[in-house]
Assembly symmetry: C2
Homo-oligomer: 159 residues x 2
């Protein structure tokens, strides 16, 4: 059930590595994943976050406010970053995240999330890793969201 949910909604999962099975994370490595956000995703996210901002549900208001269509919650799109990190490093603990919402994400847009390791240090058998994080609209160069994250990883070995 969980696997079905994940794989029917995630349309592309790719890594930048030829030999992923034995890969350990290094500075410069990029993890990526793409997803299309549906109207059902937006409703489910509103139900759990309690964020019923009408920009996500009222197409006329969204258009009057200058958008092409109803918006996907920015914090739902942002959830790609910890999702990508923890899918490769189960047990990762999030320390910080900055988020700059640079362009709207509309329902139906295909969004590519990219997480790149930029700094790494070991402490007490764990690893503090900084990542640059960004989301772009697929097939364009348009950055819709960027920022930085820091996470504590239990290991540098990637699933």
């Amino acid at each position: 059930m969980l696997a079905k949910t994940i794989f029917t909604r995630t349309i592309l999962v790719s890594r930048c590595f030829a030999s992923a099975a034995s890969k350990t994370l290094k500075v410069g490595d990029v993890l990526r994943e793409a997803r299309v956000y549906s109207s059902e995703d937006v409703k489910s996210y509103a139900e759990v976050s309690h964020d019923w901002n009408p920009l996500h549900f009222d197409q006329e208001l969204a258009r009057k406010s200058g958008f092409e269509n109803r918006l996907v919650h920015g914090m739902l799109v942002s959830s790609m970053f910890p999702r990508i990190i923890s899918s490769h490093f189960p047990g990762a603990v999030y320390v910080s995240q900055s988020l700059h919402f640079r362009s709207p994400v509309h329902i139906g847009d295909e969004i590519l999330g990219l997480v790149q390791a930029t700094a790494l240090r070991e402490t007490k058998n764990k690893y503090i890793v900084k990542f640059s994080t960004r989301c772009i609209k697929n097939n364009t160069e348009l950055v819709v969201l960027d920022g930085e994250a820091t996470a504590i990883l239990p290991s540098l070995h990637m699933l």
Copy 2:
């Protein structure tokens, strides 16, 4: 249905204003809301975010990792901030958010979210407002999450 979902899960909604009906936002004003995150919330959030980090589902792993219990996703707790802002200012557009996860939030913890306006300017009949944002464990002074947000509000009139 929506109202039921919101009000059964939100255990306290309060404002710092005596005359909220006619209130317009000023620098220094604080909006607040509290919530207890349940195991069902964590599962629902994982379903929509695809973030199945075992720290949220495996109590033994969470304890071995140094936590008291299973964790609530940090980005779910963070969703309090746009929720609080847009519930008072429907049509608000999120511009940025910084997040520092300072202490774990466990399933069952009661978390109080506080959003304080720190700067405000008008541009093209809209309002760019900066907020300090933080979450504390209720009945303690423990800050579990803090940061800053910027949002564009269509009006300073608060619902």
